[in-house]
Structures are given as C-alpha cells and as structure tokens.
Symmetry: C2
Subunit: 295 residues, 2 copies
C-alpha cells in the first residue's frame, strides 16, 4: 500500500492465495484464461465448542471468527478475549474467552434471515439491540461523494475477479478498513472483529457495503454502534423499518451523484454543490467492470 493511502487495511488483489486462474472458452468458442475468487472452508470454535464452518476467501481468519461470534451475540462486547488461534493446515480458528460459554441449545434452532442468511437467532439479536442508542452524528454529502469515489477506485478483488462482496469502515470521507469476501456477512464480520480487537468505537464511523440493505445488515451495523449505513444497492422493507426503529441513517442506491435516504435523514448535511459531482464513469463503475459484477 502506498504511503498516502487512506487505508489501514485495503484489499490486496495481488495476493496469489485469493484468486486462481482458470481456463475456459468464450462466446466464440475461443480459449480464455480468467481469474476467479477462491473460497475455503474455515471452522470456527468458541472455546471447546465447534460453532460453524464458513466458506471464506480466508484472508483474515481471526477477525472473521471473532466478528462472527460477536455478531451472533455469542461473544459479548464486555467479554475478555484470552486468545485467538488459527491453524492454517486444519483450517480451524479457535476464539477463547475468559467467560465460560455453552451454545449447545442455541445451535439447535436458527432463523435464516434474509439476503444471505447466517443462521442468526433473530430474537436474541433483537433483544441485544434493545439497549442500543446510536449516537448523534453527521453525514456531510461532500464526505459521502469523496468516500464512494475512493471506494470505487480502490483496487480490489471485485475489480480483479468479481463474485465477491465488499464492506468499508470509514470516518468522514476517509475509508479505513476495506474487507471483501464471498459472503457479504463475512466481510462485515471481519470488520467487526477488527474493531473489537483495536478497541475502535463505531460512534464516529460510517459503514459502506456493496450489498443490499437487508434487516441483517441493519442489525449488524447497529451492533457495531455505527450510526450511518450506506450502500450502492437497494433496500428491503424490513431493513428500512428496523433502521427507523433503531435510529440508523440508511442511505441506498448511492451511485454517482444520486442517493436515497429512507431513515435518519436528519443526520445528513447537504454541503456539496452537486454541479461538481461526476456521474459514475464507465471506467469506475463497479457494475460495468471488465469481469462483471455480482448481484
């Protein structure tokens, strides 16, 4: 990463472990070589208990495991993490907590939430949100445009190989941590794990996702204590309803100079002269990238 990059963690599309070149044919029957995203099994343990096996690109297994457990409410914000051990050969990561844990019962019954479910026990998550009060914050439209432009022009696996989701943790107009994964929730969970280990507060942050604004994305953003969620994609009705209930600023379809806010618009400060914002250029438009996008 160059010295003037805004990122603390940025995608590394050059990492040879994350993509693979495969041979095929094109529409003329001509041989082509193309780059595809790798997915690997990773089994997550919490203390002595096997919790789940996830398919992931595998770049930050410790953050993914911890973030997953946090977002499932199996590890709590007040928990003391005594260790996170990753065994690359076994493809296992073990998160150890000071508190004893037992989720035998919880693992028996799960609600598949929308848009790429992770098997969240939904009632539990909602309960954990009862105490959440998102902070006052502002979102200047000048930040929003600079931020989305920065994200869209960041070299990524998405631009390299497609078939991947991206999430970005930002402060004002600066993208800080940009994670990608084959499942969008893995990308969110990796950021949640990073925030926990770094002791980063969500209060002054903005969360950006390439994916849809489903109820589950809303819940995870609120659990991270982040007051503003932005996406280039669309909304679901329940996502909007939850965002309104929880006081989250929810901005979708953010492309070029356009966006729509369906919740928490009072945090928006319209300080950008729209005459100076470019529409998405074909070159930077993630959707129109060489390898095609994902839906």
């Amino acid at each position: 990463m160059s010295a003037d990059s805004p990122y603390i963690i940025a995608p590394n599309p050059a990492d040879p472990r994350l993509t693979q070149t495969v041979s095929g044919v094109d529409e003329r029957g001509e041989p082509v070589e193309t780059s595809v995203t790798v997915e690997r099994a990773l089994t997550i343990y919490l203390n002595a208990q096997e919790i789940v096996t996830q398919m992931t690109i595998g770049d930050y297994p410790e953050y993914l495991a911890l973030g997953y457990l946090l977002n499932q409410n199996m590890v709590r914000p007040e928990d003391v993490i005594t260790g996170i051990d990753y065994d690359e050969d076994l493809k296992v990561v073990v998160v150890r907590t000071q508190r004893e844990t037992n989720f035998e019962d919880k693992l028996k019954k799960r609600t598949q939430t929308s848009g790429c479910a992770q098997g969240t026990t939904f009632g539990d998550l909602m309960e954990a949100l009862d105490d959440v009060r998102l902070p006052q914050a502002e979102l200047r439209t000048s930040w929003l445009y600079r931020l989305t432009h920065a994200v869209n022009t960041t070299p990524s696996l998405y631009l390299e190989a497609g078939a991947i989701h991206g999430c970005v943790l930002a402060r004002a107009d600066r993208p800080l941590v940009y994670m990608e994964d084959v499942g969008r929730h893995n990308a969110v969970d990796k950021i949640a794990g990073w925030m926990f280990l770094e002791g980063e507060s969500g209060a002054d942050k903005i969360f950006y996702t390439t994916g849809r604004l489903t109820s589950e994305m809303v819940i995870k953003t609120v659990r991270m204590g982040i007051p503003i969620l932005v996406s280039r994609s669309g909304f679901t009705a329940w996502g909007v309803e939850l965002a309104r209930k929880l006081g989250l600023t929810l901005i979708g379809r953010a492309r070029g100079k356009r966006f729509v806010a369906l919740s928490g618009a009072e945090r928006i400060v319209y300080d950008q002269d729209l005459a100076y914002v470019a529409e998405e250029s074909a070159k930077n438009r993630r959707k129109g990238s060489r390898e095609g996008g994902d839906e």
Copy 2:
C-alpha cells in the same frame, strides 16, 4: 400474463403484497417516494418438526418449503408428499411426508456455505451427489441469447424495486418459471419445489440465475438434475471445481453477446452469428435499471 407469454410462472411486480412504497429524501434533500421489496418470516415444518424460519417475499410458500427441504436433502426425491399446508396468519408452512422424519441431530451442526449460506450440511449434500450423472444435452448459443434477452426484458420485482435475486427455469430458448426472492436460495428452492410437484425433469432444462456461481448454486442445480447453469454474474473457484467434477456446464458473465464457459463447454453448440446479437442496451441492462441493482 398475456396469452403469448412463454412463462408458466412469471414474476408479478404488480402484486401489492410484494412491494411497499416508502418515503425518503434524495441527494438534494427533496422528498421522494420509492418502492421497496417486502420480506416476511416464514417458518417451515417437516411433519411435526420445526426446521427453520426463512425471510422471503412470501409469494409461493408451498414451493419454497418443499424446495428448501429437498435441497437440504431432508425430503428425498423418492418421498411421497402427503400434504403441504400453509397458514397465512401463523406464517407457517408444514410439509408432510409418508416417511417418518427426524432431523434433530442434523439441525445441531451446520456448514455455512458461501455466497448467502443456508446452513447446509455440506457433507450430506455432497454424498447425495455421488450417484448423480447429468444427462447429455446441448446448449445452442442462439437459445442462450434469446433466453437471456427474454429474461432481461421480463417485468420483475428486480426492475420495480431492486434488492432481489432472480432464477429462471428454461427449456431451450423458452423461460418457463421465473422466481424472485430476497435471498437467492429462496428463488432456487421455489423452483425446486415447483419441479417436484409438477414432476418436471431437469434433464432438458437450463437454469439461469442473476446471482454468483458459487458452490452452493452448482450443488442445487445438479440436485435438480439440470445439466446447464447460466449466470450474468461471476464465478468462485470452488463453484468451478465442483461443476467440473459433477459434469455441469457452467456459464458466467453472460451479458449482451459475451459469456465465459468454465466447465462442460462440450455441450455448447455455436450456432449464433454474433454479428446479429446486440450488446445489452442501457434500457434493458438490469444493472443500470432505474432503481439500481444488487450485488
């Protein structure tokens, strides 16, 4: 649906239960009204046992429930279905089989597969695929272009409200069943349920998805006995590997005249003169639709 529609089942974007109009503000701070996709909880029972609660748009609960159970290998192709009861008030659907079932143990441990996991027990699914031999079949490129054009110009919730995935079951160049849902696997499962109840074979079919070609999409297509899987989106490495192992024709990034085949290219017959195929027009390009796409 018009008399000359090729569809047996097509999306019904005019169904008022599937979308909701919500108010917000745009990038100028001006009030806007916009249409968003509805998601509802649906709890699936297999006989007396509660299996899972899914978030769905809710249009075909019986097909969804049966297809989910089939794709989880909880209902087997040889099973006799004695009834499917949907209670709209309780938001519960019960699938009854002649054979007694008990999945207490299976529900305890799940593998989250990539790209929008459903908690599939992966080993079980792979085992069930050991006996699968996909049939010989051909995919004429003339069919492929007519099919993708027909799908892209079909009125849909995607075009209406975004934040949704679509799957299409087709024969040759004719789209037969087009299902949409907030989770892409729900759309697949609804088609699987329809095929089972209608006694439709997969052997002469083509499966089209708006979503990524992950391992799970490959597995579900093969379980439906369909030899050809097409997407406008990209590939994952494991999806490609599985498709090759299972003899599935896998075609991705199918947009305008372009596509890439990374498995089973021997089924492709190049009968289309490419000079007569249009690039995707901005009007029909799903990605560029008014409401924005999903990733």
